[in-house]
Structure formats: structure tokens, C-alpha cells
């Protein structure tokens, strides 16, 4: 039994359906990240779990108990908001203790709980300040403190890092991860940042247009996306989707990719592609699966090399990204920083086909 189960959840505003038949489950101590572009319904889903929005159909269970009709305060959850939502008229201490005060917990117990959380988050010095006197990172900590002090079944985070600057965001991300490991708490976390999703999650749920596209571990989502949307959304730079022609060669199915100059590039393809022979498909290859020969994964079973014209080289320090034209599209590869490859010249690139995924170009669904 999961710590949080969402069972065929529907939500509509009047005629507009914003969440359609969502099924997700997260085990106790799990870290579920809801990710998707803005307007995909991820925040609505989080608010539905919190009880801040009514749902139209389906069921939400927390620790096995149906909570559809419970008020937010009775669901055994705590939430950290994007804007932190600290009560401006109260001190940090007042903010953290407010919920306990409402629940009429004795003063001594409250003080102890505040102290415990403040120590954990290293905000003891700030307890008597007002939120307006705190920096962004400090407010973030206080907001987490307010959630932590409840010791709930499930923590809900609504894009908690999006108001911080880039450096602080990375620090706080690590801190949230540490906190999760230390507390073993169940967390549901909303973000539109796919790096946050990859680094934090034990399970990622990708949403688009109110429909759950795929739910799985970060590795599953990254390596085995179920459709082109998930493939392109996760990862940066995003996955190359190369238009290719499926065919039948002497050794099995093949993919042939048009090149600007010279013959098409012909690559071996998995058996499932046989059904598509004679039709167009999309070959999905992440940039790290297109490298210079030296950098090719030695453990990979199928690595094909081909000469390609390098249109653009973008050194990023640790790696160099190259752009080449395949199937009429710009395709990005990731080279070693010191690979002897020059812009505007032909170079031999290695394609790691173990990592290849193939999609139907019309439906965007995965074929192989």
C-alpha cells in the first residue's frame, strides 16, 4: 500500500477538463516529482492532493485513507508554496508555530517543536525576525520549517525553488535531497525544471495537457520515454528526433537517414521496425549517444560510425556540442572537449544505437 495513491482522478472547471484519469502511486519515503510545461495541470494536481481544490472524479488516498472529502488541515499533509506564503505579520517563530497554535497544542510542546525544526534547518538566529527581514533563501528555509514541524504523512512542494537565483537554487536542491534522505519523508514535488526532476525524484510523473504521459524512475523516463513529448521534455539539450526511412536490409530492418551531401546514412534497426518498412519513423538519440569515435561507449553492443559535416561547434567547458544536419534536421552530438573536430569540416561520429528509441512520426508513440 502506497503512502499516496491517486486513482483515476478527474478534474474539470465547468466544461474544461484540466486533469484526465490520473493514476499515480508513491510508496512511503518516495520522492514523486510532477513535471510538465506550464498549464499541464501539475499544480492543479498538487492542489487537489492538498485539498485546496475539489476534484470532479476519482479518489485520493493518503496512507490508505480516502481523503476526497477531508479539509486540507485534516489530510495529514504539509505544503511549501512557490511564494513561500509566510504570514507577514508574524515572526518566524509565529509562522512555524501557527498551525500548532490552531490545533491547540500546548505552548511548551510548540516551543520544543519550533526549536527542533529550527536547529535542523539552521534558522535558530532568525526566529524573532519578520519575513520581510529575511533573504530569499532564508524565507525558503522558514517555509520548509513550517511544513516540517507538522511531521505529516506527505509533504507537498509547489515549485519551491523557482523564485531563487540560479546558485541558491542548486544549493537548496541539494539541501532538499539531503533532508529527504534524513527524514525518509514522502514528498510530492511540482516543478517545470527537468533537471530538478531528474536529480531529486525517485519517481517522475510527466504531465501534458492534463494527461499523465509517463510515470517511472528518472532512469526509465530518461532512457525509455513512451512518446516524443517525454523524450523531448526530459534532458538538456533535448533528445534528437531524426526523421528516418524504415527499410528491410539483408541482416534485418534498417533505418536510412538522408544527409545533405552524399548517400543516406543506413543504420541497423530493431525487429519492431520491420512493420514500418517503407514508411517514415523518428529515430530518437540523446546527444551523448552521438560522439566522437574516441568517446564512444566501449560497453555498447551496437555502435555505428559515419562521416558527418559539422555545422556548428559549441564548447561548454566540460564537453563540446556539435551540430550536424541529419534527415533535414539539426542534430546535436556531445563530444569530448578536446576532440580533434573542426567546424565546417567532415568528421567521423559514433552513434550508440543501444540507446536509440524509435517513434511513430504521426502519433509520437514509441515503436521500439
Amino acid at each position: 500500500m502506497g503512502s499516496l495513491e491517486i486513482d483515476s482522478l478527474d478534474k474539470s472547471y465547468g466544461a474544461a477538463k484540466v486533469l484526465k484519469d490520473i493514476n499515480i502511486e508513491i510508496e512511503e519515503g518516495g520522492f514523486l516529482v510532477l513535471v510538465g510545461p506550464s498549464g499541464c495541470g501539475k499544480s492543479t494536481l498538487l492542489n487537489s492532493i492538498a485539498g485546496l481544490e475539489d476534484i470532479t472524479g476519482g479518489e485520493i488516498r493518503i496512507a490508505g485513507k480516502k481523503v476526497n472529502d477531508l479539509a486540507p488541515a485534516d489530510r495529514d499533509i504539509a505544503m511549501v508554496f512557490q511564494s513561500y506564503a509566510l504570514y507577514p505579520n508574524m515572526t518566524v517563530r509565529g509562522n512555524i508555530a501557527f498551525g500548532m497554535e490552531i490545533r491547540k497544542i500546548p505552548k511548551a510542546e510548540r516551543d520544543e517543536a519550533v526549536h527542533r525544526v529550527a536547529t535542523l534547518l539552521q534558522i535558530e538566529d532568525l526566529l524573532d525576525r519578520k519575513p520581510s527581514q529575511l533573504s530569499g533563501g532564508q524565507r525558503q528555509r522558514v517555509a520548509m520549517g513550517r511544513a516540517l514541524v507538522r511531521e505529516p504523512q506527505v509533504f507537498l512542494f509547489d515549485e519551491p525553488l523557482s523564485n531563487l537565483d540560479a546558485k541558491l537554487r542548486v544549493d537548496m536542491r541539494t539541501e532538499i535531497k539531503k533532508l529527504h534522505q534524513r527524514l525518509g519523508a514522502t514528498i510530492v514535488y511540482v516543478t517545470h525544471d527537468q533537471i530538478e526532476a531528474m536529480t531529486l525524484a525517485t519517481k517522475i510523473a510527466v504531465l501534458k495537457g492534463g494527461v499523465l504521459q509517463q510515470a517511472g524512475t528518472p532512469a526509465e523516463i530518461y532512457n525509455n520515454p513512451v512518446n516524443t513529448f517525454v523524450a523531448e521534455f526530459m534532458g538538456s539539450p533535448s533528445m534528437n528526433l531524426i526523421p528516418a526511412q524504415a527499410g528491410q536490409g539483408p541482416n534485418g530492418p534498417t533505418l536510412s537517414i538522408a544527409r545533405k551531401a552524399g548517400d543516406p546514412l543506413v543504420l541497423p534497426a530493431p525487429e519492431a521496425v520491420a512493420a514500418y518498412a517503407g514508411r517514415g519513423v523518428l529515430l530518437g538519440l540523446r546527444p551523448e549517444a552521438i560522439t566522437d569515435e574516441e568517446a564512444a561507449d566501449r560497453n555498447a553492443r551496437v555502435v555505428e560510425t559515419a562521416s558527418c559535416r559539422i555545422d556548428v561547434l559549441e564548447p561548454s567547458g566540460a564537453d563540446t556540442y556539435c551540430t550536424t544536419d541529419l534527415g533535414g534536421k539539426d542534430v546535436i552530438g556531445r563530444l569530448r572537449a578536446d576532440a580533434p573536430i573542426r567546424q565546417g569540416e567532415d568528421a567521423t561520429l559514433a552513434f550508440n544505437l543501444d540507446k536509440a528509441v524509435i517513434f511513430d512520426p504521426d502519433s509520437g508513440e514509441r515503436i521500439a
Binding site: 479539509a71 488541515a73 505544503m79 508554496f81 504570514y87 490552531i102
Partner: protein, 292 residues
């Protein structure tokens, strides 16, 4: 800016002097009536009769003030303005308190607990602000008669509550519209109910808009004449009506000095309210507009 002043020190200074001169001139112009009232309210009547309204008093006397407050004839009874002053206080204070609380609650519900038709309801309340008082006189009289509070202070409180609510709701609604909804949500998750959120989260952050509303209501209700004269009895007639009766009571000579003193007395409370909280008034109007 400073560099420019340094390069043309004289030009800047002349401009500034002209500016101040103009400002002082306007200030004098606007303060002149107050000066005339003050100066003449502390003169004996003979001195005013000599015809020089602008002159400072030769003989200083506070007799007119004492008369206006407690001895002058208002209508038929020689009570002075004192009883009516208290009538006004008894009417204004409850009305202001009731309207401010109701306005804040309305604003809270209209922005944070919206329901179907909330905007239509708000539109209708706003419309109420723009209905001329005269149109409402007869319906109001019927309602007060039906409720059995015609001619009482509570009757006037009710009428002013009905009329003040539109603007008070407008003020609070616009202020609370800028209040972050996430705070309300956080409080709900913390277990706070409707009124706990209102009193613990919303009201403590509403200082500026409360001041704005109180000044607005206090001034309007205190200065109202029409409702006071229409629905007030001796026991409930406010200061404004009494002042009118004081001035128009024909007891032979026109006691201008008493009238001036009475007029100042009638204007004093709103003046004090504004001076004490005026700076919040401006700040409140600003913060409602700028706060994102």
C-alpha cells in the same frame, strides 16, 4: 540633477523661490476662510459689525465658543450644539465600526472565497454608491418606519451603513485582490478557519486600508446633512442639522461670531481625524495601487 544645479546655481535657486512663492500663495488663499472663521469667532459682535472681517480681534473673547457649544438657540431650545455633537458621535462611531468590519468581510469573501455571481453582486454594491441620496429618501423612510426606528440614532446608523457599505467594500476588495492567495491557502493547510484567517492573517495586514476607510466614512457620515435632517429627531439630529438651525434661527440679531464658532466646532472632528491619520490615508491609497 545636482550637477545641473551646480552649473547654474542662480537659475535653480530662482526657480525654487518662485515655486515656493506660488505654493505659499495658494496655501494662504485656501487658509483664508479658516482664518476669517477663527478670527471672527473670538471677536465680540460689535467688532464684527464695524465691518472689518479680515482684521485681527482687538478684544479677545471665547464667549462665542461657549455660547455656540452650550447656550445658543438651536431651533427653539437654547441648548447650544453640545447635545447634537453627542448625537453625531453616537451615530458616526457605530456606523463607521459596523461598515468597516462588514466592508472588510465583504472584500475578503469577494476576493478569497469567490462564488458564482460574486462579480455581479459586487457590481450591484458599487451601483449603490452612485445612487443619489434623494432617490433613496422615501424608500428609506418606509423601511425605517417598518422597523420602528424612524427618528432614532440607530435608524441613522442603519441608513449610513447601507450607503457606506458600497465604498467600503470597494476599498477592501481592491486591497485584498492584491493580497497573495497562497497565504490564505497556507493558513487553510495550517487548519485555520474562515474567521481565524480573517482576524489572524488578513486584518493585521490591512492597516492602511482600514485607515482609508475610516477617514472616508467618518468624513462622509459626519458631514451628512440630508439624512440627518430627514430622519433625525431632537434626540438624534446630528451636528450638521443643528448648525443649520443655529444659523437660521432668527432671534433678532445675527450672531456671526457664534455661527463661526459653531461651524468650526462642527468641522473639528473630521479635521482631527484627518490630521492624525492623514499620512496613512495617502500611504493606504498608494499601497493599494502599487502593491503587486
Amino acid at each position: 540633477m545636482s550637477a545641473r544645479t551646480e552649473s547654474r546655481p542662480d537659475g535653480g535657486r530662482v526657480l525654487r523661490a518662485l515655486l515656493y512663492a506660488a505654493l505659499i500663495l495658494f496655501a494662504i488663499y485656501y487658509l483664508l476662510p479658516l482664518y476669517v472663521m477663527l478670527a471672527n469667532s473670538v471677536k465680540p459682535l460689535e467688532e464684527i459689525r464695524q465691518g472689518n472681517m479680515m482684521a485681527l480681534p482687538q478684544v479677545l473673547t471665547f464667549e462665542p465658543w461657549a455660547q455656540a457649544w452650550s447656550e445658543a438657540k438651536v431651533g427653539v431650545a437654547a441648548t447650544g450644539l453640545k447635545p447634537y455633537f453627542w448625537n453625531s458621535i453616537k451615530m458616526v462611531v457605530p456606523a463607521v465600526i459596523i461598515v468597516t468590519i462588514l466592508g472588510a468581510l465583504n472584500g475578503y469573501v469577494l476576493t478569497k472565497y469567490t462564488f458564482r455571481g460574486a462579480n455581479i453582486l459586487f457590481g450591484m454594491m458599487l451601483l449603490g454608491c452612485f445612487i443619489p441620496f434623494q432617490i433613496a429618501l422615501i424608500p428609506a423612510a418606509r423601511v425605517l418606519g417598518f422597523l420602528g426606528i424612524a427618528g432614532t440614532t440607530w435608524g441613522l446608523v442603519l441608513v449610513h451603513t447601507a450607503y457606506g457599505l458600497g465604498f467600503a467594500t470597494l476599498f477592501f476588495r481592491n486591497y485584498y485582490a492584491a493580497f497573495p492567495t497562497e497565504l490564505i491557502r497556507a493558513a487553510r493547510i495550517d487548519g485555520a478557519g474562515f474567521f481565524t484567517i480573517f482576524f489572524r492573517i488578513l486584518l493585521p495586514s490591512s492597516g492602511p486600508i482600514i485607515v482609508v476607510t475610516v477617514i472616508w466614512l467618518f468624513t462622509n457620515i459626519w458631514n451628512d446633512f440630508l439624512f440627518g435632517v430627514s430622519f433625525g429627531d431632537f434626540d438624534s439630529q446630528p451636528m450638521t442639522v443643528a448648525l443649520n438651525n443655529l444659523v437660521s434661527s432668527s432671534g433678532g440679531v445675527k450672531e456671526y461670531n457664534v455661527h463661526f464658532a459653531g461651524a468650526i466646532l462642527a468641522a473639528l472632528p473630521t479635521l482631527i481625524v484627518y490630521i492624525v491619520s492623514g499620512r496613512y490615508f495617502v500611504r493606504g491609497l498608494m499601497s493599494g495601487a502599487v502593491k503587486g
